[in-house]
């Protein structure tokens, strides 16, 4: 996996045994993290799990007490400074409300100087869908607009590693689409993206791999699809052309449990079944064989969210 997980001969991020404490509080405890170059990698965890501390280390905002960290194939030194070609934000983007959106970006561009690689201000504003409000003061921006402008500020520096903490906060559907499009395009261009989010649907849509952190430790790291393989039955929404017939087929299939309390749900026509992956694989051809048109078969709770809850609850129980 290692050899196939990297491009251009190096990892986007590689951390080994990272430990970071604040006084008596251990924020990170022996964290390992592998992010291949050009990959969108999600970091998930409950509040206080250490996600922001981990992302802060990547941005050079603090230094690990122990462990080694490589960013873009080079070891990070012991000084407080963001490694080159790394951009992003933690705890929300830093913007100056008395400046316009364009003013914020142009001040940032001038800060880096003419020698530094930089994208055009209009270009990045267009990418995040803020062209129409480019000359408005940031003071009046919504949270979602600030998030998008923060992303534009990060794009301005043409980063090779983009670190984003909760970039989807406050985004409306249109804003979310802009951000998803941008991150997908960046990954396609070889930019490594590490992002945290509480929105599992975002992470599933964007990330090829995730790392789940709980109380400063990694409890899972790997492809999102691997989470669905967990040996835990998952609830699925099932919609077909004939729901009573589908209920009967499901009830007759080994390993499938029909959840009857689905009647409490607002969408009464939806059948909810609980199954392991192999049983589900058996159910689908049976439904088709019975002449039913399969219209929807999706997890009620996403595999990532389900695994997240299971793993973090397990971690808390272990403690």
């Amino acid at each position: 996996m290692e050899a196939g997980g990297i491009e251009n001969g190096f990892w986007g991020v590689r951390a080994r045994g990272i430990t970071k404490s604040f006084g008596e509080v251990v924020a990170l405890d022996g964290v390992d993290l592998d992010v291949a170059a050009g990959q969108v990698h999600g970091v998930v965890g409950p509040n206080g799990a250490g996600k922001t501390t981990l992302l802060g280390l990547l941005l050079g905002l603090s230094v690990a007490d122990r462990g080694s960290l490589e960013v873009l194939g080079k070891p990070v030194g012991r000084s407080f400074a963001a490694p080159d070609d790394v951009a992003g934000f933690v705890d929300g983007p830093g913007l100056y409300p008395s400046l316009t959106a364009r003013g914020n970006l142009s001040a940032l561009a001038r800060l880096r100087g003419p020698g530094a690689p930089a994208a055009g201000i209009d270009d990045v504003l267009g990418q995040v869908g803020l062209t129409d409000v480019a000359d408005d003061k940031v003071r009046g921006f919504s949270l979602g607009m600030r998030q998008r402008l923060g992303l534009a500020a990060a794009l301005l520096t043409r980063p090779r590693l983009l670190v984003l903490d909760e970039p989807a906060n406050g985004l409306d559907p249109a804003g979310k689409k802009h951000v998803h499009d941008v991150l997908t395009r960046l990954a396609a261009d070889g930019v490594t993206v590490v992002l945290s989010s509480h929105r599992m649907d975002d992470l599933e849509a964007l990330c090829s791999e995730v790392t789940i952190v709980a109380t400063g430790r990694v409890v899972f790291s790997g492809p999102v699809g691997k989470l669905a393989d967990a040996s835990r039955a998952v609830d699925y929404r099932l919609v077909t052309s004939d729901q009573p017939a589908a209920r009967q087929v499901a009830a007759e299939t080994d390993g499938i449990w029909v959840i009857d309390d689905a009647g409490a749900r607002p969408d009464r026509d939806v059948l909810v079944v609980r199954a392991l992956q192999p049983a589900l694989d058996e159910l689908v051809p049976r439904l088709v064989h019975a002449g039913l048109a399969l219209r929807e078969l999706t997890p009620v709770v996403s595999p990532l969210e389900s695994a997240f809850l299971a793993l973090t609850e397990q971690q808390e129980a272990d403690q």
Partner: protein, 453 residues
């Protein structure tokens, strides 16, 4: 396969230059309406105030040089200087230096800034230089505006100095510029205290208010009786000691000591702010400062500096008393009376006499002779004697009641005879004005007693 990286290839961040950081900080400061408004006020306010006040029948006689605002435009510039030292400069330093770091805490932009600039040291330097630039722009505005307002409103005529001698317009202009340059030192001290407060107190509003409180505290301290060595060791003394430029000879020792002390405070407070900033943990979003940090990096070093400064000044000058002693008060009053007597004689078209011919002496007591004649108070009573050159062997006598401030400045109020120092109008080149010997300001050099002793 992971590439093997030798330690020498460790990732070295490309840092933003101080010059670019400085420009970035200036852009941010100037984008704030309150900073723009303050600078505008500094460049326009004094001119308007001086021009308007100069046209009033009642002048701010309780402000140094205020009573001469009808006489010359240069007096207005000095009134602005005195007012600025007390109120405007502490406010300016509060809004600019007191906010330059804490604004990032309020906006939650520290992490953004660190990622962008990649060097806390350069951020500190850039912020300090940017706030200094804004402050200097404000101070320059106050100086230029006060001068322009005075000259346009009243005109350029000789200025009566603090010992009654006349300064030519050119001389007055040079000394006013020098006086403004001198108050830069205590302004820098307040700015450094502002930087320290801004770094130490984070989002707390106390960071913003610290220079204003410090300025007010120093002003109050200067009004208290205390040994001259301690008074001179306070960083705000140079806001007052520029007065010494307007006497003849100039009182340069207190002025230079005040400037040196102010600069020492500026350097110490800036260094403490720098150390505090470099030790800060930027992973925490909320930074409201801590009492322990403020004590360790703020109060304690500056208290030590105050104690050391006071000790060094006391040791070097021997100024352990108030510095206001009978002989100095008498000398100062006699000198001022002699100069102003000549002015009065000229305005009354009397025979021109010289100070040497007048041979003025003064004899003062305090508390009606019941108190030790030293220290500040409004109970100084002085008898002034002078030789009447046009009357053989005749001696004139006048009485003055003196209100002497702890910092050495005094107001002499004529108490007879009326024809010498009573209130009556005299004709001057700018119209009728009060008798110059009726009430006038003077200044006692707090170190003159020790330097002679």
């Amino acid at each position: 396969m992971t590439a093997t990286i030798a330690p020498s290839e460790a990732l070295v961040p490309r840092r933003v230059s101080v010059a670019r950081g400085y420009r970035f900080e200036l852009v941010k400061l100037l984008s704030q309406w309150r900073v723009r408004l303050l600078i505008l006020a500094c460049w326009i306010g004094p001119a308007l105030a001086v021009a308007v006040v100069s046209q009033q029948t009642s002048l701010p006689a309780d402000t140094l040089f205020g009573r001469w605002m009808h006489a010359t435009g240069w007096a207005g510039a000095l009134v602005v200087l005195g007012f600025a030292g007390n109120w405007v400069l502490p406010l300016l330093t509060s809004v600019v230096a007191g906010d330059v770091f804490s604004s990032e805490d309020r906006l939650g932009t520290w992490r953004h800034l660190l990622v962008a600039v990649r060097s806390p040291r350069r951020i500190f330097i850039a912020k300090a230089l940017a706030s200094l630039t804004i402050l200097l722009t404000g101070v320059a505005g106050l100086a230029v505006s006060g001068i322009v307002g005075g000259l346009l409103g009243v005109g350029s005529r000789p200025l009566v100095g603090l010992d009654g001698h006349l300064l030519s317009p050119g001389d007055a202009f040079g000394k006013i510029l020098l006086a403004w340059a001198c108050v830069l030192a205590p302004t820098l001290a307040l700015a450094a205290i502002g930087l320290l407060g801004s770094v130490a107190l984070g989002r707390s509003p106390m960071g913003l208010l610290l220079p204003a409180f410090a300025g007010l505290g120093l002003q109050l301290a200067q009004a208290l009786p205390m040994p001259a060595a301690v008074r001179l060791a306070l960083p705000g003394y140079a806001f007052l000691s520029w007065n010494g430029l307007f006497t003849s000879p100039q009182q340069l020792r207190p002025l230079s000591i005040g400037i040196a002390v102010s600069l020492a405070w500026a350097v110490t407070a800036t260094a403490m702010a720098y150390l505090l900033f470099m030790r800060r943990d930027f992973t925490s979003m909320a930074h409201d400062g801590s009492v322990r940090r403020v004590l360790a990096f703020g109060v304690l070093p500056l208290a030590v500096l105050l104690a050391v400064s006071a000790g060094v000044i006391a040791g070097a000058t021997g100024a352990t008393g108030s510095g206001i002693e009978k002989a100095q008060v008498q000398q100062s009053l006699a000198t001022a009376f002699a100069h102003l007597y000549r002015q009065q004689a000229s305005e009354l078209n009397h025979v021109n006499v010289t100070e040497a011919q007048l041979r003025v002496t003064a004899s003062c007591n305090k508390g009606g002779g019941m108190s030790v004649p030293e220290g500040p108070g409004n109970d100084w009573r002085c008898y002034v004697y002078w030789h009447l050159p046009d009357v053989t062997d005749a001696t004139g006598q006048a009485v003055y009641q003196l209100d002497v401030n702890p910092n050495g400045r005094y107001v002499a109020d004529g108490d007879g005879p009326t024809e010498v120092n009573g209130y009556f109008q005299v004709h001057t080149q700018y119209g009728n004005a009060p008798n110059p010997l009726w009430q006038f300001d003077g200044n006692v050099d707090l170190l003159s007693a020790t330097s002679k002793g």
